[in-house]
């Protein structure tokens, strides 16, 4: 084999295979387009605020300082069902806990569960999808049929079943919510790999003897990373919704953690007597999900080359 190593990438297609668009530059182009998109910037701003709230609450808790107006778990039965007023902005719940403090406190749980669950489905899904797409053949068939079967079960039922098997709790909720979204990522990654695999430069990289892991990292990942970023952003919004749903059914994150869905579930009985206890946690969930959806949609538009030209 007399492959000569030429230093000019334009002259040698095999060498050119090493000069593919880097993941960073693709993300950078995405960011530039994103900045033009007002809705996405609003989403990003809300997410920033939520993250700031969550971090502040968490840090102050670690340091043992009370930064919230009230202790979110301090119950004073003599003050139960106080309607929203100047001292209790969002009122108090059935146990006399300050709703405003509880909702701020809940930010950290929702964001944490959302991000952690996506991290799980992302890692496992990308891995499975990469293996299936790269290996092909029987491995591919087995993995993808398994994914199809998971998709045939409504994700909320699957998550509930996982919770029943694993037991209740924060960590279990993260795992259950993370597990049910694995197929989506696996499908995206596999599809992208299949479409890139036959490209000349990937074939060229194979011929010059790059190892599979290197080919996936250097050539295939850059092509799917932006799609994954979009999917993951929208995935966080789904995860936040799922967390709330599990919480609402009484299967999710358990007290003493203040969780928005759990708050809604427990306040259900007071729907006509104290409707405000059901309004504010719902707004919190909706705003959070909305923010990630805005950002995700913006990212998707930024990714679409058609809109990037404008």
């Amino acid at each position: 084999m007399g492959i000569k190593h030429n230093s000019d990438p334009d002259e040698n297609p095999l060498q050119a295979a090493e000069y593919v668009e880097k993941p960073e530059s693709q993300l950078k182009a995405m960011w530039e387009t994103l900045r033009q998109n007002k809705a996405a910037v609003v989403g990003l701003f809300i997410i920033g605020c939520l993250a700031l709230i969550a971090l502040t609450v968490w840090l102050s808790e670690l340091l043992g300082k009370q930064i919230l107006p009230y202790d979110p778990n301090y119950s004073d039965m003599s003050k139960s069902f106080v309607w929203p007023n100047a001292t209790h902005w969002f009122g108090t719940d059935q146990l006399g806990r300050d709703l405003f403090s509880r909702i701020l406190d809940g930010t950290k749980i929702s964001l944490f569960v959302g991000v952690a669950a996506v991290a799980i489905s992302l890692t496992v899904g990308v891995l499975l999808g990469a293996i299936a797409g790269y290996r092909g053949g029987r491995t591919d068939a087995v993995i993808m049929r398994l994914m199809d079967m998971m998709l045939a079960i409504p994700s909320i039922l699957l998550a509930i079943a996982f919770m029943a098997a694993l037991g209740k709790g924060l960590d279990k909720a993260i795992i259950a919510i993370g597990l049910v979204s694995i197929p989506e990522y696996a499908r995206i990654v596999r599809g992208s790999i299949l479409s890139v695999k036959e490209n000349d430069y990937v074939q060229a990289a194979k011929i010059i003897g790059n190892r599979p892991s290197r080919i996936i990292y250097k050539h295939i990942l850059p092509n799917v990373i932006s799609v994954i970023v979009v999917r993951a952003t929208l995935g966080i919004s789904t995860a936040v919704l799922d967390t709330a749903a599990l919480g609402f059914l009484g299967l999710g994150v358990q007290p003493p953690f203040a969780e928005w869905g759990d708050m809604l579930g427990r306040a259900r009985g007071f729907i006509f007597t104290a409707p405000y206890t059901l309004i504010f946690p719902g707004i919190a969930i909706t705003v959070t999900v909305l923010a990630f959806n805005l950002l995700g949609d913006g990212l998707r538009d930024a990714l679409d080359p058609k809109s990037r030209v404008k």
Binding site: R145, L146, D148, M149, M150, L151, A152, I153, P154, S155, I156, L157, I160, A161, F162, M163, A164, A165, L166, G167, S237, L241, A244, A245, F248, L249, L251, G261, L264, R268, I271, F272, P275, L278, I279, P281, G282, I285, T286, V289, L290, N293, L294, D297
Partner: protein, 338 residues
Amino acid sequence: MLKYIIKRILMLIPVLIGVSIIVFLIMRVFSPDPAPIVLGQHATQEAAEAWRQANGLNDPIYLQYWHYLQGALTGNLGTSYYTKTPVIKEIMARFPATIELAVVAIILASFFGILIGVISAVKKNSIFDNAGMLLALIGVSMPIFWLGILLIIFFSGTLHWLPSNGRINPLLEPIHITGFYLIDSLITGNISAFADALRHLILPASALAMYSMAIITRMTRSSMLDTLQQDFIRTARAKGIAEGRVIVRHGLRNGLIPIVTVIGLQLGSLLGGAVLTETVFSWPGIGAYTVTCILKSDFPVVQGVVLLVAAIFVLVNLIVDVIYAFLDPRIKYSKKEV
């Protein structure tokens, strides 16, 4: 075409086997022992052991699965640990309520989703378009159960217009023929029952429809924006066809294919959403019941429900593929593509 359909139906079998294995693993291998849950905390060791023996839970897991499969082939999905009723009966008693809810919801979602989506695309960047897209965005961001709660607070609590729980006033309940109250009441000519069933349906169906409507709206808009740019739309206009007809008969007819896909997928997610909606509205359907059964470790019922739902999901996908072939003459299902 018929060959294709038969093939696809046969493909249901491996999917159902796979799904049943997944559920079996989750419920019987990884879940805690159901005996203390079913019999109560204070049951004796012997009683628990006898119960496990009676329900075949002491067999090796593959044998348990084999027995289950054998039963399933003869139409026996086991009996509930609690009521001792056959699972099929348990499901059939509640299934029509869920289907009625889901079908009404998907009709609402498709009708309004396509309507808003088409108008938004035709009047791109107008106030209507912006409002429609905002509605769609809120629709996908709002938890279904919270929307249900808001509807109850407003329409049942504040306005007292519509009932907030159940399927019908028990006094008006029609004779069960199909199990669908809207149909049963019409068959028996029981108009007041029909009206009452409808009143009970409005809130839960709207809550359940919202998310799907939002998704369908978005898909319709983008599909129509794409289709209305096509050359054959210009041809239709050049023929002197009235604009409304151009948009519907030429535009929507072509843009419908991705929309149908989304509607099919939404029917699957509606069954999931039904779990939450039924809980909020105390709707006596399969969704809320399944949650209870999962929590009570009533394995046979859970297994049966999940299989049923998975079968519906796969069948809906098949129906969507068949509709494709009718919508798009370019699609031909040959044996190769299966």
